[in-house]
Symmetry: C2
Subunit: 384 residues, 2 copies
């Protein structure tokens, strides 16, 4: 096991009717700005529940955080916060709303040029406190310190991280998933699955707890994911997927182990250029990444084949090939496509995405920095 | 899955040479009291590492917290703290030192009679901050809000819990286990194993993540435990056991599931009356509890048999019997005894322990409150 620090101070309120708990979790004298997305929360009743819980608070709202939240939109929220003196952000939404809120929280307190937070990794010394009402389980952003924000003008999609922007609390009520479109449920399952794989499918450092926890999440998502996108889904399935998605990226399974994230880096560029959903890009790249990195990941691929998929691994190469195939089949089982061509993207992606990777310095990706630009090019070509 | 709140704000510093990190984790202007036990930390170099890290702090010390820390000893520390104005506790030790430090931290700020915290569940509104250097992995006390303190005069052993006494940070350096006596290593493995079982072996609420995480801990402890008590143990084994013990009782695997704790309640009384180590009592009671509660725990016993022990469960009763037998064998494999008679305790325990349980109101224990006094009596009799 590698040395690690693990610190996750987000308080979780999990279960039915937990939205009312925000009343206790937000300081009484806070001036709250509710940040949300395209307005679906007004149709599914979540906005009403939040309004009801905030009835004794002073509060306002900022709507319109887009999927892949943009720097431009976030800065409009920052202007409103500064003008009206809000001092607490309540993010009501999925990963995009939460990621956007994290940037807003940091930028609102930042004395320099906020774009530097993303472009230069400028240090954040304080941020507005954030609470979360999660409406879409997927990214884990509700209980971690990471954020990814896009620049709509330059097509950059850049990450930042700071403990200052980690949510103080997150409400996870599986009932909010009832009204989600199937595409978002599918995205959530795939996103959580690939988050887990990025922290698991590397090389062994004999970290048995982390391995078994990751395997537990993968098995749960493989069992529950297909049920979630079926007609007769029940509360238990939603609850299991929601908790898996949070646990997949709250720092726990990645503590003390090597991490990969090459699939994410290539996926981010596909989203930036072609506008695919984040999870859609992951489902395309991961199977090809597994195949391309078969040798560097051999031991963990076999462990995955045996423990998660229950395969006989006597014939190693055959077991690995089957494991990759079953992974792609799992994506299909939750109605996720796994080829660029499924989105009418062809050969031109090979150069375009490789150039983007080069421009962002992504020339040695993965846990061994073994995914060179040439290998990324091969992976993208194989993904068409 | 049941509704739950999960909040664990303890920062973990895990790995070799992490004791130096306390320099960053304790506020610079703190006046630190180092609380420890019988002085083994002076022989194994940990006291020296802590002294070195604290060289720029104002600090003092309180030694002599005993195994099963007593109210009487803790109150001596409280007197010293009040007299000399310490405002930060650094607990250097195992579960007893940490549990004692939690009571000291609460009592130092308590305006009433501190015994009421234990005897009447008096509410704690503040406590001194606590940091931990863990020297013995076992109880999980380093990252939870629980404490158990004994009264040496009345033979009461009573728990309390408050987020106010949860450690701000905990240093987990597996190297500290190098010099531990085998008895303490054995105790640690068994303690962590039974903590996990108390939160796992109940009835299913279809909480798949929690179940798989618990199973991961049980499997890890069963694999690594016997290695830990052998001659040629290496760092990896120590690290896996240490992290398992923390994860076994930091609130995570118990969030959203029913919990048992009947084995602990009976075990506490055995320690109070006969002075056995906490883990020794658990290893005696758990196999008998499993047998006695075979019907109420049937589904989970079968799940344990199949997933953790890899048994064929076609013949259910036979699988359950084998699972109980293998659990007891596991205790033996880490050199832990599993009978009262192994400690020269005989028939008189049946009445004595049952009377203690009655005196403390422990008349309906377990996840179904199905362990009546009569059943406890049967369990104790079967444990001889």
């Amino acid at each position: 096991m590698l040395n690690f620090n693990f610190y996750n101070p987000t308080e979780i309120f999990f279960g039915e009717n937990q939205i009312a708990e925000i009343t206790k979790a937000i300081p009484k004298n806070a001036k709250v700005i509710v940040v949300y997305g395209g307005g679906s929360i007004k149709k599914n009743g979540i906005y009403d529940q939040v309004s009801q819980a905030l009835r004794d608070f002073t509060w306002g709202e900022f709507a319109g955080i887009e999927p892949n939240p943009t720097y431009q939109t976030c800065m409009k929220a920052v202007a409103k916060i500064k003008q009206e003196g809000f001092d607490y952000i309540l993010a009501v939404g999925g990963g995009s709303v939460i990621d956007g809120s994290k940037f807003i929280a940091a930028a609102a307190n930042f004395s320099g040029e906020p774009w530097d937070i993303l472009s230069k990794g400028a240090e954040i010394s304080s941020a507005l406190p954030i609470g979360v009402v999660l409406t879409l389980p997927a990214t884990g952003s509700e209980s971690n310190s990471f954020s990814v924000v896009s620049n709509s003008e330059t097509h950059d999609k850049l990450p930042f991280a700071s403990i200052e922007v980690q949510p103080k609390f997150a409400v996870l009520d599986p009932q909010v998933m009832k009204t989600l479109p199937q595409r978002q449920l599918t995205n959530g399952v795939v996103d959580a699955f690939v988050h887990t794989m990025e922290q698991y499918l590397t090389y062994s450092v004999d970290a048995k707890v982390q391995d078994r926890f990751a395997e537990g999440l993968l098995m749960t998502l493989m069992e529950e994911g297909p049920k979630l996108v079926s007609e007769s889904v029940d509360y238990k399935v939603r609850a299991n997927v929601m908790w898996s998605a949070t646990m997949a990226l709250n720092g726990l399974i990645g503590a003390g182990v090597p991490q990969d994230w090459a699939t994410h880096m290539i996926g981010h560029e596909i989203t930036a250029v072609y506008g695919l959903d984040h999870a859609q890009t992951l489902a395309i790249i991961l199977p090809r990444m597994m195949a391309e990195q078969k040798e560097t990941k051999r031991d963990k691929l076999l462990q995955y084949a045996e423990r998660v998929l229950g395969l006989d691994i006597a014939d190693e190469d055959s077991a690995i090939a089957t494991a990759i195939e079953l992974t792609e089949q799992f994506f299909h089982s939750v109605n996720m496509k796994t080829r660029l061509a499924d989105y009418d993207i062809g050969e031109d992606a090979v150069n375009k995405i490789t150039e983007q990777l080069e421009r962002h310095g992504m020339t040695a990706l993965g846990e061994h920095q073994a995914v060179t630009l040439e290998k990324s090019r091969n992976i993208i070509r194989a993904s068409i």
